[in-house]
Every structure is written in structure tokens, then in C-alpha cells.
Symmetry: C2
Subunit: 126 residues, 2 copies
DNA sequence: CTGTATCCGCTGCGATACTG
DNA sequence: CAGTATCGCAGCGGATACAG
């Protein structure tokens, strides 16, 4: 295995919400989920469709999502080998939840950019 | 400033959704937002309320959220100094979006745990 | 009380090379 | 085509010490 998928520090009572964000909040998971929300993809298709992702990180990301039952992995033993990835039913429900966050981002991006510019201007004046 | 808040690599057409996840997906932002969703808090109250956060990271996290216009910072110049943090209206709308993700996590945590256990058992059998 | 400055270890992740 | 193995570094974030 290239890397350990994730080191989850099982905090007792602490907010379990972190775990889901660890899953969805890393660098690539969201984009992978979004892609697979459209339709199933093969490995290379996915790689080409996601700008800038390395082979390694696509593998690691897919493994993590597969482990959590969010994507399914279907191997067709032909030559050359063919592997298809798709969202599971669980993955679909996650897609919905994630989309509300994405929508939020799209709606408020200008507002955030403005706020940042403001803040930076104010703190630059020291 | 202890650290630069975040290095945002302004990718041209690429998914802007990453930016919001960079904001909300880091180690502490979510918990801070959740807390402030209940009521305004003072710095030390927040620190005590969030298990395991260091002073440094609370400061860094709050600065980032303030910069994005998600939390407000109100200084009362008394001795000892008093600083109150609260969600802005923008922050409140984010809280709503984030909550749908948190709900999802709560609902599906068992399912995910089971899937992980399954996966780990299968891959352990090599 | 509310920060800020510095040091530093750990891990995410890209680059590269190799296998079935 | 679809991975896996290894190396290397940048940056997140913890510990600690200081300051207004």
C-alpha cells in the first residue's frame, strides 16, 4: 500500500464530524465524488478529468472512498485490465450533502473575496 | 502573525469548491463554527470548550474565519482585555450548509465504520 | 486575558521508477 | 491500463516562551 489511508485519532466524546471532513475535506475526494456523481468512470478517464491529480493520489483517494463504502470498484479481468469506479448508494447521499456546501461556496464566493481583500488591506496598514 | 492563514493556489478554471473546503475542512474551523453557532464566545471560553485545541491554532483559525467574514471579532478595551467572537450573518448561512454535512455524518457513521471494518478484514487476508 | 514569535516533528502529496 | 514502492520536501499544527 502506498500510504496509510488515514490516521484517525479516535477521540472519545469529541466531535465525530471531523471524521467526515477528514474524508471529504482532503485535497481530492470532493472532486472525485463530484465526477462520479455524473456517471461511472474508468481510472484513466478520471485521471484525465481531474486537473492536476497524480496517479498516486487518485489511487489513494479512491481506496479511501472505497474503504468507507462511498465508491465501488469493479474489476473486469481482460487484457488490458479494466476497472470502473462509481458512487454507491451511500456515496449518492453524500453527494447531496456536499452539494449544499458547494452551492454555498458558489453563492458567497464574491462576498468572501471582498471580505478577504478588505481584511488584507486593513491589516496591511500597520 | 504566527502563520500565513492559508496559501490559496488560485487555479484558473478549476473547482472553486476547494476553497470553501480549505476554509471549513481544516482541523478546527468546523468545531469553532459549531460552537459560535450556539452563542458568542470569548477567547478563553472557546479554548476550554474545544477539546485539544492549542492557543495558537485557535488564534490562527479565528483569524482565518474573520478574514473570510465568517466570524466577527469585538474587542472591549478594559483590563484585562476582553474579546468576543460571534458568527456573522454570512457565518450563519455557512453553519446551515455545514450542518447538513454533519447530519449526514451522524446518520451514516455506523455504516461507514462497518464498511471500513469489512474492507480492512478483506485486505488483511492477503 | 489575549494574543505573538520561534522551533520542529509529522504527514500529505508530488515525482519518479517499476510490476502484472 | 492500473496500479505499487520509494524518496523528498513543504507546510500544518503542537509545545513553549514572551508581550501588551
Amino acid at each position: 500500500m502506498p500510504d496509510t489511508p488515514r490516521a484517525l485519532a479516535k477521540e472519545p466524546g469529541a466531535c465525530r464530524a471531523r471524521e467526515i471532513l477528514d474524508r471529504v475535506g482532503d485535497k481530492w475526494s470532493l472532486q472525485v465524488i463530484a465526477r462520479l456523481g455524473e456517471r461511472p468512470y474508468r481510472f484513466s478517464e478520471l485521471r484525465r478529468g481531474i486537473e492536476g491529480i497524480s496517479q498516486r493520489m487518485l489511487t489513494v483517494t479512491l481506496r479511501g472512498l472505497e474503504r468507507d463504502g462511498i465508491v465501488s470498484r469493479t474489476v473486469t479481468p481482460v487484457t488490458p485490465p479494466r476497472v470502473d469506479y462509481a458512487l454507491t448508494p451511500l456515496g449518492l447521499t453524500l453527494l447531496t450533502a456536499v452539494n449544499s456546501l458547494v452551492s454555498w461556496a458558489e453563492v458567497h464566493l464574491d462576498e468572501i473575496d471582498a471580505s478577504r481583500a478588505d481584511f488584507d488591506r486593513r491589516t496591511a496598514a500597520l
